[in-house]
Symmetry: C2
Subunit: 499 residues, 2 copies
Amino acid sequence: MLAHRAIKQLRASSLLVHRGFAVLTADTINPNIVKAEYAVRGALVLRSNDYTDRLARGDKSLPFDKVIPCNIGNPLVLKQQPIEFHRQVLALVNVPGLVDESEAQKIFPPDAIARAKFYINNIVGGTGAYGHSKGSAVVREEVARFMERRDSHSADLEDIYLTDGASPAVQNSLLTLIRDEYDAILAPIPQYPLYSAAIALNGGSLVGYYLSEENAWDLDVKELTRAVTQARDAGKNVRAMAVINPGNPTGQCLSLENMKMIIKFCKEENILILADEVYQENVYAEGKKFLSFKKVLRDMGKAYKDVELISFHSTSKGFTGECGRRGGYMELVNIDDSVKDQIYKLMSVNLCSNIDGQLMVGMMTNPPQRGDASYERYAEQRDSILGSLKRRAVKLVKAFNELEGVTCNETEGAMYTFPNITLPAKAIEAAKDAGMAPDAFYCTQMLDDTGIVVVPGSGFGQKEGTWHFRSTILPPEEAVDEVIEKTSKFHAKFMDKYR
Amino acid sequence: MLAHRAIKQLRASSLLVHRGFAVLTADTINPNIVKAEYAVRGALVLRSNDYTDRLARGDKSLPFDKVIPCNIGNPLVLKQQPIEFHRQVLALVNVPGLVDESEAQKIFPPDAIARAKFYINNIVGGTGAYGHSKGSAVVREEVARFMERRDSHSADLEDIYLTDGASPAVQNSLLTLIRDEYDAILAPIPQYPLYSAAIALNGGSLVGYYLSEENAWDLDVKELTRAVTQARDAGKNVRAMAVINPGNPTGQCLSLENMKMIIKFCKEENILILADEVYQENVYAEGKKFLSFKKVLRDMGKAYKDVELISFHSTSKGFTGECGRRGGYMELVNIDDSVKDQIYKLMSVNLCSNIDGQLMVGMMTNPPQRGDASYERYAEQRDSILGSLKRRAVKLVKAFNELEGVTCNETEGAMYTFPNITLPAKAIEAAKDAGMAPDAFYCTQMLDDTGIVVVPGSGFGQKEGTWHFRSTILPPEEAVDEVIEKTSKFHAKFMDKYR
């Protein structure tokens, strides 16, 4: 410790001597930021932004006339329409007095007006005032009732914390869990890189557990045991396990047996479960059904009442697709009261999450009901979006499986396909020369050739020697054929070149 | 280092043995969270929430009939009305097709419709889609033009990052600056506790510099030198200096000379400036004028072009008062490009700030202009709010100065008064018995007696042996007299009891 301190003092005094140097350089900022990687918005996306700008300026030199962003689950940029009821309520809440104007009756349905009045009457100061740091009580109540209907178990609004999307909820959970580099978090490989990035930012250790691509991205207890044993042998304290269900980027929907196994394992090994359930409404596979970890945990009875669980949900996914709203929540299950107080304090430093996003959470969890004026339109929008997503998933997976050297598991749920590409040795060599991971090289070539933006598997982690890319299933149905055609042509050309 | 590692391994293995214990307890969560304090939403506020609930349930046993929240700058809960134009644009943007409906022409003025069309046409996917991680380019352009008009210096939208309010911007800046406990940040005492809390959360060290209450909360270079020297002698690396201008909780508005002194000092000592300028529109004192650090820095010429500056602004304050919207931005001035890339990556992990909040930033910085349909109403709202805030500030400061043993500096700007209270020895003794800081004891008694919520000075830091409280100037004008009357009566009673 003394040596450590002496080194730091040396650093401090050496900086004193070097006046005139910048305080912040890539070498002197918090190294955890430098370590963090987030490929979903990484180099490829920046490159595609440049193409978008060039096309907008009328540049005709590119071999495509538009950029198709399949890098991120962002439905509304790809022509998905927002749920009308939700937007009407937001508008009515935001313009003081509008709910009482006669013109408004002509534009807005009565149930939207009624809901707006409910929020106006129950949220002091409205959408423009700071609210409770855990979020508006009336919205948390809506969330609790939603979870009760979903799980057939009680839910308490005091355990629900509204957040600016699921991302800050995950980040705050990891901030709470991680004390130093010896604190480890289990995360799936492949995984949505929010987890790897946030673990790096908080200075913790990620311990990967591999999903089995051969078995439809299944997860088995042997692999979990291997991961935990190896981490502990390396002196790590395994504190939590992140599970993404349905999977991102892998799309699998966990079975009841799988979930029970995970819960038993976590109880046995004293591990907290972080359940990322943002795709709970996106399940397409026949015979598959989303079950929440809370439900399964509670169904397992009193013996499991000490298993700690934090679950996450968001307005960005499902058929709501309101990403830019930054609405989300977490539920703390079996978490110590003193810890909940500390998490409240942590959230209070940022005062509250945005109120419009909170209201979107309220409407997502408490939508129009049969008999309400907006119900039919709501149900029509919901069914049309989910039906279309399913058709697109099936179509894309089928098309990818027809490409040379490509295999692709079914998209049981979520919003992505994650095809495995067998790259020729010459392509791997060329990637090496270009200083890129082979799948990043492939994806860059695809972007340059077609304007389609996908994310290389290396951004999510993958079994060594395998290569993938993640593509969303979000291009509108009429564009899916175009994506398939362009991808197939590009793939054939690429394989011909490097075979 | 080895000893450190051995201890950690021991901790890991001891946890292994103690299966069945909770993963998260107040003793085992990240201790930085436990250390962080945020009095603005602390114990007193929780106590006041309880009173609010009791009053709502019809409890008649309390000696007051309402809770008056003066603990936080949250204007819209205290009857301030939102700027109408801004809300109209939000509504028009959020309901697809509304801008083209004939009924809408009857409800909304043409400039609001035009602005909504501009945002709809320029923001791909609208308010419900993830946008650029730095924020929408059209809004950043509006901010850049605003800063150019304000400062008479160029501004580049690429240096502007939109955020969910100023708080996460400050937190991300501190996350970037702080590597470990040897990295220190200068912060004023007294100060808005976001700084102390965020420094603690990031595991850094706060080095306080005292503002001089005797000289209207002035700041002098001797005190800065003392603080930095003392910190360096203790082995700290002083990386940045937070300045809040106008001050929170102190309300002073920095003079040009003061700002130049700070900039010279920071250049000389190689310190980055964090300029919290969220109260830039709230200046009330005759002859005082807000100047941005960017302007003063640029006015000082090329010799200062390497002084690094990050400045913050928000939609929550000024006369906009849209706290719940979580709109804000930071500008990075003279910051290394590689660091800007890292900050972009850091922000991309959270995808983007909420788009409604971004639009509020756009409207705040680019409001209706003379000649626009909404201009008169806008100007009327603006002048009425600012005029009223000024009257309330003057009235409260005057009233506090008339209380026995109380002195209170002028509220030159911002939204607070910060009276100094000389507490009798018996009161200090009673506080000790109650296990509270003397000013927390005073504020708790005030809440219990009057329903008025203020924050003890100990939550902001203060010179040892002095006691204060912070009260906002936000109760509506008709309620200010009530606040003054209730406070005066309580104070007299308190002094009589403990004198």
